[in-house]
């Protein structure tokens, strides 16, 4: 079974934000919730790199572990999803998440911030695949259609890779060997406790 991962090749990422708007487009994500974002490091200085980040669908995901109501589950593709019916919007997952993925419809106070929302790896939620209710709560389910997350599919420079971890690691490895440099698989150590060895 495939073990789905994201890998952002920072030596390709140009902070074009296509991944961000592709996500908005695909799932009709409202203003204020960013399932994916691009962070620029060392801005304006030589060595500047941008990295597109969303839920990394960690191995042994911290969000799932700390959730007081166990609303998370991991699919056979190793995608970390959650149930908005069970979620109580407590925000613990955000504290535990190394990548800042969880978002809430309301901000200001902890009380009634609504159900957590995060990147689903375009794999919907616990409702029946491709149902309206699934779409409305979690967005579309491209995985069930045999497609990959739209952010990666639309990445302007093919910096953001999505797919089976071993395959995308291999692609990245080939790239680094070909071009002679690479700033690494950002977040992999934290998310998957492994990195792409070149």
């Amino acid at each position: 079974m495939a073990r789905m991962k994201f890998l952002c090749d920072a030596d390709r990422c140009i902070e074009c934000n296509a991944c961000v708007t592709a996500c908005k487009n695909e799932h009709e994500v409202p203003w204020g919730i960013n399932r994916r974002r691009v962070v620029t490091l060392n801005d304006g200085k030589p060595g500047e790199r941008s990295v597109s980040m969303a839920c990394m669908h960690c191995t042994d995901a911290p969000c799932a572990a700390v959730c007081p109501v166990n609303c998370f589950y991991t699919t056979a593709d190793a995608v970390v999803l959650h149930s908005k019916d069970i979620c109580i919007g407590c925000g613990y997952c955000f504290y535990a998440c190394p990548f800042g993925a969880p978002q809430y419809p309301k901000v200001g106070n902890f009380g009634s911030r609504g159900k957590m929302d995060k990147c689903t790896y375009c794999a919907g939620g616990p409702e029946p695949d491709l149902s309206t209710i699934e779409y409305e709560k979690y967005g579309s389910n491209r995985l069930a259609e045999g497609k990959l997350p739209l952010c990666a599919e639309m990445c302007s420079t093919k910096a953001l890779l999505a797919g089976d971890g071993e395959m995308i690691a291999e692609i990245y490895k080939q790239r680094v060997i070909k071009r002679g440099y690479g700033s690494g698989a950002w977040g992999w150590k934290t998310a998957y406790r492994e990195t792409v060895a070149i």
């Binding site: 140009i14 908005k24 487009n25 699934e134 259609e145 739209l150 639309m154 093919k158």
Partner: protein
């Protein structure tokens, strides 16, 4: 490279395959629900409601519900890369976007704008119905009323002030067909004041490049950059302006381990990926290029064979370059000699090398000269006309190349036929109207201010007023404007109002206009500056995603876009609005004589056929709608790097993707198009070519024709002039023409058949015969290092009007005051005054401008798109950390940016960053809706205000125009920044 999951088909079946291999820890979502046990109240019950999706169930092909998903392909309306947009449409609603993996240009990818483009057609901020301003209030009117009133008003203005009193501003977002009929409309109306955005982006490129080697366009393509071993990106930030192009740039960089040199005043997102970054002072491009060439010549790195065979007067350049020794270059531009030596060596020796430039090179008072210098750098190093080389000019809008080709330009007719009698007669023949009638439409201009009177014929051949100066055409005393009266009415189609410099003066101009018509999907800045009380109309136009037609990408590939959905709300497409207006004015029968019109909508395919019938000069003759549609159907067959389809393909065999012009001869000839211009290593039938013999055969006894250089397989093995019947007769090739072709040529030529040329022969016979002989119809000339017809035949450095280095002005002054394009250009006086008044002391910071990836152009459209607007919510100025500290400015706080003219000021947020050097500030130019500190949101018609508003960078920009094209200076002026 992405991996599509191979297991299973779409939909539910696929899910099954996933659950089968379930690992013990993994939980299928249904299993998860099952395991969740006791169902509590209504919360979980929701899961049982409404099975089957309105949207994705169908998208996945699981046709549980009847309606079908149709897939439509169009072209992204933003930059010029030409990304294919694949839309999923259900019941006439655009419900989803899919990656266009088969497009050889974007290969499924998009930038932020392209990935969010679906929102454009359903945006709640669109203009929904025609509106008219009555006593300062926007009121809804019908289309019929709008066309009637506008038609009556412009007719009245024409009768009173002449046709030149109405200015026709077109759009780079037009399809080729709309651009073409807009230009045709201008001709039928009787004015040459028909312009569009190319004026303010690459007009200097078109002028400079065309004057060097023939055609003013990107010589190679985005894809071809993959072949380059060295690339210089000068004055461009494609990472933000053309993100998808970076896919090719970075792949090329990786595959070839290529040098990627970025020359820019700003450490851009592109520069972050460079192998060498050269920071220059804004406006010193020529010293830098000459500085590079100095090392090239000094070390003998130039391509001597190439120069002797294919370049005219390189020695004139050597003389100028000799002045730019490393010390002088460093003194003027700040770049140390050693670095430029490295750049020079790489560019000259690690070949193929390509030069990429954008508006950082073009938007200057020396824009044309900059472009010329860049071309000369390519010529000197032999980096033109081969894969991986060339001047890869990244243009700005989806169809700015096409709209330029279609003649939305004050100096030309469609397809670069100049405003000369022969050209007018050519188009009169194509249009099937009397030349004399066309001439009668133009104005007679009385003598004034010491200038001679102008006849109708002279008016017909006089370039119009540029879009950069339209408000000067309103504001200036009438005797200074070289036409009967100043401009009285603006007809603005798809063009933002905030994109021209000196906005405060544009506002003044707006108040004085007798009529303002804005035809656009959004109200635009023109409509929202609170400058007018009445005689203002807004016409809702659909986006080009809602219409059929072709678009020419920067690489000259022409792509057919099909209507994705019907025009939203009450909006209409450009074809219909132009047709209705022509109809109202009584011009429709003549204008659309040979074009099919159904329900007031001219058919795009038929317009393209008319373009094919007249577009010989640029090789727009072979791209029939049928061929273009076949290309869109067969996108997957084109090679990523060569853009060529395999020869054996039944539909598109051997073609280059999008039949990049020139695509010679009639469509039946099946010319493949020209991927790389001036490539002598290919037969012309395979897309080869030579430099264009456009400027005669010799000058002062020196030949202008190529020597010992010719395209592969050519019957003529030396330079040759462009082909006319006279030349044909000399060569005896006239016998190769068919009787039918001869009849057409005879009809065209009339009494002087010898003058019929490859560009005016409507039969296509001359081009066909040329192809058979392996020669380029336009001749085989030399590229010009000395363009004697330009103000600076060999580019020389001239300091910006507002320069931070007044000490250099004496040695490098701007050009003297002169009259250009019906207007005075008093740049010299302004520069002198600025130096005398010590402006550089009060305004010590260089202000430059540029693009953001999220927005485009004037930005009304993209700022109305919430998915994009969320990412850039505030107009800002990038200010160097040091400058910010000196002024006590913190990141994110509001500051006033003030400019040296009109007491201009702008309230923007500070973005403190080292992207800009000390003494440099940068502002993006996409914002509008705040004016000198005031929020103008309430002036937009209700509900049509863009999501994000901000100060326009042009509130603070200043005087300065290129002498050749009237290009404005946006990249180098001065400002002061203070905390609010």
């Amino acid at each position: 490279m992405l991996i599509k999951r191979k297991t299973g088909g779409p939909g539910r079946n696929n899910r099954q395959t996933i659950t089968i291999g379930e690992t013990p820890r993994a939980l299928d979502r249904r299993a998860f629900l099952r395991n969740s046990g006791l169902v509590a109240g209504g919360l979980a019950a929701a899961g049982a409601i409404q099975l089957g999706s309105v949207r994705k169930a169908e998208a996945a092909g699981a046709s549980a519900i009847g309606s079908e998903v149709t897939v439509k392909k169009n072209i992204c309306t933003h930059c010029s890369v030409g990304c294919t947009v694949t839309a999923e449409v259900v019941n006439g609603v655009w419900v989803g976007q899919e990656p266009s993996f088969t497009s050889p240009i974007n290969r499924g990818t998009h930038c932020a704008k392209g990935a969010a483009i679906r929102e454009l057609v359903s945006s709640d901020r669109r203009l929904k119905y025609p509106m008219k301003m009555v006593d300062g209030q926007w009121t809804r009117i019908s289309w019929d009323q709008a066309i009637d009133e506008i038609g009556d008003k412009i007719t009245g203005l024409r009768d009173k002030y002449g046709p030149d009193s109405v200015y026709w501003l077109g759009s780079a977002k037009f399809t080729n067909e709309a651009a073409y009929i807009f230009r045709k409309f201008g001709a039928f109306w009787g004015t040459n004041s028909v312009d569009h955005q190319a004026r303010i982006c690459h007009s200097t490129t078109v002028a400079g490049v065309a004057n060097t080697w023939g055609y003013g366009a990107q010589t190679n393509s985005y894809n071809d950059i993959r072949n380059a071993k060295t690339m210089i990106i000068l004055g461009g930030n494609p990472a933000e302006a053309h993100p998808v192009s970076l896919q090719h740039v970075l792949s090329g960089k990786e595959i070839n381990r290529a040098n990627m040199i970025v020359i820019d005043p700003r450490f851009t997102r592109t520069a972050a990926h460079a192998t060498d970054y050269v920071r220059i002072r804004s406006g010193t491009d020529i010293p830098v290029v000459w500085g590079i060439l100095w090392h090239v010549f000094e070390n003998g790195w130039e391509d001597k064979e190439f120069i002797s065979q294919r370049v005219y007067a390189m020695d004139d350049v050597r003389k100028e370059v000799a002045k730019w020794n490393p010390e002088e270059v460093e003194r003027v531009s700040g770049v140390p000699g050693e670095q430029l030596r490295r750049v020079a060596e790489k560019f000259a020796k690690e070949k193929p090398a390509t030069l990429i430039w954008c508006m950082g090179a073009t938007q200057h008072t020396v824009g044309t000269a900059n472009v010329r210098a860049l071309c000369i750098l390519c010529l000197a190093t032999g980096n033109v006309g081969k894969p991986g080389t060339g001047a890869n000019i990244f243009r700005g809008h989806t169809n700015v190349q096409g709209a330029t080709d279609m003649g939305l330009d004050v100096t030309s007719l469609p397809l670069y036929y100049g405003l000369v009698e022969g050209a007018w007669k050519h188009w009169a023949r194509v249009w099937d109207v009397e030349y004399d009638w066309l001439q009668s439409r133009f104005d007679e201009v009385p003598a004034k201010a010491g200038r001679k009177a102008r006849t109708r014929k002279e008016s017909m051949e006089a370039p119009g007023i540029t879009s950069t100066r339209w408000f000067d055409g309103v504001n200036l005393p009438e005797e200074q404007v070289d036409q009967r009266t100043g401009i009285k009415a603006m007809m603005v189609f798809g063009h933002g109002g905030n994109t021209v410099t000196r906005l405060p003066e544009a506002v003044k101009g707006l108040t004085k206009l007798d009529l303002l018509v804005v035809a656009d999907p959004h109200p635009t800045t023109f409509a929202a500056l609170d400058a007018r009380r009445d005689n203002t109309y807004l016409l809702p136009i659909c986006t080009s995603l809602e219409m059929d037609g072709s678009r020419t990408a920067s690489n000259r590939s022409i792509q057919w876009g099909e209507q994705i959905v019907k025009p939203a709300f009450e909006s209409k497409n450009d074809y219909e609005v132009i047709y209705r207006l022509a109809n109202k004015l009584g011009l429709a029968d003549k204008m659309f004589k040979n074009i099919k019109v159904a329900n007031n909508v001219p058919e795009a395919e038929d317009i393209l056929r008319e373009i094919n019938r007249g577009g010989w000069s640029t090789g727009y003759c072979g791209q029939s709608p049928e061929r273009l549609k076949a290309h869109m159907r067969n996108q997957a067959k084109f090679d990523l790097v060569t853009l060529r389809a395999p020869k054996d393909d039944p539909e598109v065999g051997g073609d280059y993707y999008g039949l990049p012009w020139p695509c010679w001869g009639k469509p039946e000839l099946k010319h493949p198009g020209t991927h790389i211009l001036y490539n002598t290593n290919l037969h012309i039938k395979e897309g080869g070519g030579t430099f264009r013999a456009r400027f005669g055969t010799e000058r002062n006894g020196v030949t202008l024709l190529a020597e010992d250089s010719y395209a592969k397989g050519s019957d003529l093995t030396d330079g040759y002039p462009e082909f006319t019947m006279a030349v044909f007769k000399k060569l005896g090739w006239d016998k190769d023409l068919t009787a039918e072709e001869m009849a057409s040529i005879t009809k065209t030529g009339g009494t002087n058949i010898d003058a019929v040329s490859w560009a005016t022969d409507l039969s296509g016979g001359i081009q066909r015969v040329c192809l058979d002989h392996g020669v380029t119809p336009y001749g085989n000339g030399k590229a010009r290092a000395n363009a004697w017809n330009l103000p600076d035949p060999v580019p020389v450095h001239r300091e910006p009007i507002y320069t931070p280095r007044p000490d250099l002005v004496a040695k490098y002054p701007t050009r003297p005051d002169e009259r250009q394009l019906r207007m005075p250009n008093i740049g010299f006086s302004v520069q002198k005054a600025a130096v005398d008044r010590g402006i550089a002391k009060d305004f010590p910071i260089i202000l430059t401008s540029g693009r953001l990836v999220e927005y485009e152009g004037g930005g009304e459209e993209t700022r109305s798109n919430p998915w994009l607007a969320e990412l850039q919510q505030d107009m800002f100025v990038e200010i160097n950390t040091g400058d910010a500290t000196d002024r006590g400015i913190k990141d994110g706080q509001f500051v006033w940016v003030s400019g040296p003219e009109n007491n201009a000021k702008a309230k923007v947020k500070a973005l403190v960053t080292d992207r800009v050097g000390k003494g440099v500030a940068f502002m993006p130019f996409h914002f509008s809706g705040w004016y000198q500190g005031d929020d103008m949101r309430k002036f937009y018609p209700h509900g049509t205000d863009p999501v994000v508003l901000g100060e326009s960078s042009n509130n603070t920009t200043t005087y300065g125009f290129d002498p050749v094209t009237g290009m404005q200076e946006t990249k180098c002026t001065l400002c002061q920044i203070r905390a609010v």
